[in-house]
Structure formats: C-alpha cells, structure tokens
Amino acid sequence: MTETNSGPASANGSAAKAAATSANGTETKASSTRGEWPLYEVFVRGKRGLNHVHVGSLHAADDQMALHHARDVYTRRNEGVSIWVVRAADITASSPDEKDPMFAPSGDKVYRHPTFYDIPSDVPHM
C-alpha cells in the first residue's frame, strides 16, 4: 500500500544562543537547541471580559509566525478572541527556590481579605 500524505512542518532552525527559562519553566540549552526556532509562550483571551491565560508554547522563526502558529495550534475551535505571544527568553519568572521569601509579604496580611472583618449579619449589602 502507498500512503501519500506529508508529515507536519516541524519546528527547527538555527542558533538559540543564551540559555533561557520561560515562565513555563522550559530551559533551553544553547548546545542542544542548535538549529531550533525560538520558543514562544502563548496566551489566549477566551472571550471579551476575561484575562489572557497561558495555554502552552510553540516554536516559530519570528513573532508573526508565532501568532499564526498559535492560532492553528491553540484556537481551532473558537477558544479565543485575542492571542498574545512572547519569546520565552524574554519572560522573567520568580524562582521556585525563593518561594517562601518571595510570597511571605502577603502571607501574614490577613487584614487584606474581606473575611478579616466581623460585621453583624443584620447589616445589609455588605
């Protein structure tokens, strides 16, 4: 039997130089990504009124191609009305090692939450 369909275009290319860590945590090592298109992270706004949400990543040669690929890979069924793509290497992320000191300032400020305040239950619209 002969099968004649062609395979998908796969991501590849040249020189990603610096080691990069995306928000997704992807570490791209210069040595093994030789010839690979840069990695982009994709954010989609599901509908008007919602935030853009991270949906995954992809490889593309440039920003425009990243947008096109994002449309094809992540919005085949009306999953979005707007797409952001950003080079993974351009994202600055907090490190999991600094988890405690990084988020400690918000940990002991319970007074930032509405439930901190006792209001009699007969006070309306509170």
Binding site: M1, E3, T4, N5, S6, G7, P8, A9, S10, A11, N12, G13, S14, T21, N24, G25, T26, E27, T28, K29, S32, T33, R34, G35, E36, W37, L39, G56, S57, L58, H59, A61, D62, M65, D72, V73, R76, R77, A93, S95, P96
Partner: protein, 322 residues
Amino acid sequence: MTTQVNDNRYDEAQLQVQFDATIEAKDRIEPRDWMPEAYRKTLIRQVAQHAHSEIIGMQPEGNWISRAPSLRRKAILLAKVQDEAGHGLYLYSAAETLGATRNELTEKLVAGRQKYSSIFNYPTLSYTDVGTIGWLVDGAAICNQVPLCRTSFGPYGRAMIRICKEESFHQRQGYELLMTMMRGTEAQREMVQESVNRFWWPSLMMFGPPDDNSPNTEQSMAWGIKTHTNDELRQKFVDMSVPQAEALGVTFPDENLKWNEERGHYDFSTPNWDEFWDVVKGNGPCNEQRVAHRKRAWDEGAWVREAALAFAENQAAEEAAK
C-alpha cells in the same frame, strides 16, 4: 570541599521530602520544581512516546484524505488529522518543559531510538478503516488519556485535558461513519465487519503488556504519572466497546468474549502478545514505512526551517538599522 558535598546531599534529601509531600497530597509538580532525575527521565520518555504517537498517527488516516468519498467526509478527516498534529505539539511542548528539545525528540524518533504506539504500524486498507480507527483506536486512546488528566506533572496533565476535549469528536465521527456504512449495502456492512476484525486485537494491545509483564507500572503509579494498570484499562475498554458493537451490528473476533456475571465484566481471550512484541521490535506491517515517511518530511523540510529563520534574522537586522 567535603562540606559542600554534604550540604548538597542534605539539600537533596530536603527537596526529595518536599517532592514526596507534593505527590502524596496529589498536588502537581511544575517544571521549575526540583524533581528526582528518574522521574524526569521517565516522564520525558512517556510524554515523547505519546507525542510521537500523535504525529505518526496522522499517517494511516492521512492516507485517505485525498480519497474521502465526499467533501463532508474530507473536511472531517482533515480536521481530525490536523487535531492529531495539534496533540503532538501540545505534548512536545510538555516534554520541552522537562528540558528535552524538540529537535532531539524528533531525531530520536526518526533514528528509531524512541517508540510510538504500535497500533500505527498497521495499514489502513480501506476507507472504512478511518471509521474503525475513530471508534476503536481513538476510543482506546480516550480510555488511556482521561485518567492522565490528573497526572502529577502539571504541563502533561494540562496537555491531556486539551487533548481529551478534542478526542470525543474523533470517536464520534468514526462511529457515525461506520453507522452510515451499516445502513448501506450488504457489501458495505461486510467492509465494516472486516475492518473491525483487523483492528480489534491491535486496539486491545494499545494498553500495553499485561500487568505481570509491565515492570515500570509500580513506580509510575507511585509517582502519579500513571493511575490505572494496563489490564484495568483494557478491561474498561472491552466493557465499553461491547454494547457499542451491538448497537452498530458488528461482532468482535473473539469467541470467548462474554459477560461474566460474577466479575461484573466481560471475559475475553488473551491478546497475541508475541505479535505485540514483534511489532514493538519493528517487525509490524508498516514500521519502516512510518518512520521513513517522518524522516523524509523532517529532512526535506530542513531548508524551509532554515530559510524562515534567515528571513526572520534579516527582518530583525533591517528593523534595527532603521
């Protein structure tokens, strides 16, 4: 630097405790968390094998796109095969968060150093097989994948959630295709039965070797990257499929297939595991063809990938010179 070494060891033990606690709490491990090297390696292998299956899986069905019997069927088949490409890409992305690179994974696939599901080493001999694959092969994939939505590695679970949402279309379009043929001529009904006969056993083998011959299952279950054993999922698939076959009006090629009141499950024969291992080793009807095709697409696409990058670099340089 003895102190340093000791410190590192102490740190590692601490990190292992945190990792174990996260798994124990059924919480998710995220890419930048510390994880045991064996967990990372096992996951890369599992996710890559899964990604390769989606990508290689486009071939048997893609074979029929140009010969679909109507524009409606052609549009459906194109969308289905395009989805499988998408599934492969979601999964490659998940594997990349573990430190693997896309190129490295593709190169291992085309060199035969990483596997994909054996089911795709069987040929699609008639258009009917598109329906049977949707019903049984995508059906078996759903059985395997739904529990993986809760897998312990965050990006893998999220990829599985997207995939499972799309698989339901795959199974239903296949079953509907077969239903349409069953309402047709006697010859068409025979085509459906013949196709089901060919795909039944390979579909059961998709769940992997029997539990007593699946040495990695225990560790994978402890790590939460597998939640049911191969035999449990296989049984579930058989139980689901029998009533669907009855509704369709076809039978499965197994004379021992019957309801067991006591167990509350269908009994069925043991698949031919010698055939399974033979196909895994590379001796299936289409192993060579599948890998050669993927390798050709990869090699012949190299200049396109390079040209796109050169173009992007030129554009950026022009932009910078302005």
